[in-house]
Amino acid sequence: MTNPIIENIRHSLGRTVQSPLGLRPDIYEPRLPESIDSEIARFLDEVKKLSGVGQKLSPADIDSTLKTLVAEQNIRKATVWGTPHLRQLGITKILNSLGVEIVSPNASKHEMALCDLGITEADYLLPETGTLVLKSSFEKPRAVSLLPRIHLAVVRPEMLRADMHQVFAEAKDSNYLVFITGPSRTADIELTVTLGVHGPKNLYVWMMKE
């Protein structure tokens, strides 16, 4: 079946069905990463610049840090990605012991919307912009980083990539990807920056490192 829009485009450009594709212009060179420590420092620094809270954390301190977060932010309900690493850290157990109700990450959207805290990992991290890159699957539902009023990402140094070239080379065949660069924001009313419009108001990033 011929498509009239494609036909019109060809007619306008003076091309035919057989016209070959021209050569795409070259893209410039990818970025080279620095030492792992300076990449981590840069990443956390960018998260802070975006009004997020970024910190390095030893697995031994996760109990106490979660306890502080739950108390400070008055967290009663939480939902957590069902990934092996988060299970290994015992996140849901700790939250349970703190009296936080755990909602399944595959629960209905109405239930998820009642959560105070959503905990995810990330698939990749971009140090230049302080960006979390998240894929999506049954274990890693999209709503966990979106519906709760606070988003906590528990990440590791091996998730760091030098730049978007590397991330896309690995991830472009995913059915869904999202870059999260800071908490939800707007400046639509008299240019006053307001955090937490439709997405989370607070973004915490914990870089797990011995």
Partner: protein
Amino acid sequence: MSQDTHPYIGFEEYSEHVPPSIPLAVQQATSRFVGGRAARVAELPQWEQLRQIGSDIRQHTIENMDVYLTSLEEKVKEAGGYVHWAETAEDARRIVLQIAKENNIKNVVKSKSMATEEIELNHALEAAGIESLETDLGEYIIQLAGTGPSHIIVPAVHLKKEEIAALFSEKLDINAPTDPIELARIAREVLREKFLNAGMGISGGNFLIAETGTLVMVTNEGNGRMCTTMPDLHIAVVGIDKVIPDWESLIVFLKLLARSATGQKLSTYTQFITGPRHAEGEFGPKEFHLVLLDNGRSKILKDPIGRDVLKCIRCGACANVCPVYKNVGGFAYGSFISGPIGAILSPQMLGTQAARELPFASTLCGACADVCPVKIPIPAILSHLRRRVAQGDAFALPTISTPIRATANLASLALAQNWIYRLGALVLPIINPFFRKNNWLSGMPYPLNRWTKVRPLPPFGARFRKWWNVRSAKETESTHD
């Protein structure tokens, strides 16, 4: 709107009655964006190189658009999505309504999209009894106010917080405070319910990646994620000009877009959507529809000068630096896209009958071309379209009034023929005494009064050659001293 039916855009008429609050609000916003952009650009030593690559890739994509769109369609279908082609705005509205009807949809949530503004989708949905709610905070505000956007990036920039509070109080039947943070919180609560209960989400798209059939959406508030994650149905209405070859080229545009638009390195949320969800529990829509909108774009491609407008990535940087836009605001441009880019898009999309004033709504200062992330030569296209309006070309007949055209033709003849010009310079001073007031000529007869009622003319009498000879002689003298 089609080429023949769009109402006349009276830029001049409007700009004579701009409410004084508009330039003030617009200039506050634009100066913030200009400052932010400059800071981000200064951080990137390779900025100019990036712009050049961005421009080259857009050029290349335009010249091979048939190939990339064909690949895009194939890949979206492979990923389990549906592709619909809409030749006109009417077609696009019909397609969206059809999908809504088949799925018995009553409530739609919309994220900000210039393409759906272009096809005036909200009116069509409402006429069919479907609630269609804008969810970007700025768009939500202007939807409550019942107006269109006045800026590509901050659509409600022309409204003060007191006006917005009054609007919320009236429409939502509450007592809204004037604090912007409180107002945003109120909108969050109202819209949260709508997101969770809507049957369908409608979005636009910033880019379409031909390589994998991926829709790329850039937002800050998270409403774009809500619209494409919560409802079971997602329809994206996107202009065919948004296609790009591959993920490698996308990197260039992501680096250019947020820096040029808001002075961010990246916007808060960038989504890459390839078809529908794979598992129910992961959230995201069960069905993904892509409506590819032509609405005159394929015709614009025919003009090798004018078609550069299709390189645009909708950052709004050209408006932020435009001295005309900053004084009249977005509504003066009478269409969904305002500022310099609107002034070269509308005359091509809506025709030089309805939009014939827009190519003249510029000082041709060139600030827009200096900041354009994909190097669209906006002033050159404005001149090109001025010629189309005045003289007509292969695309349109002339549309300015006969006396103006006659005057312009005379002037162009006189300036091109040396002897006529010199004759005029000799003869015209004769009329000076009849119209001279102090050192100016005013109150000239028709059609010259079109000029003199706005501003007086200097008296005829310039003798450039004479002046030049005298000056050269003087200079020669002084260098010999």
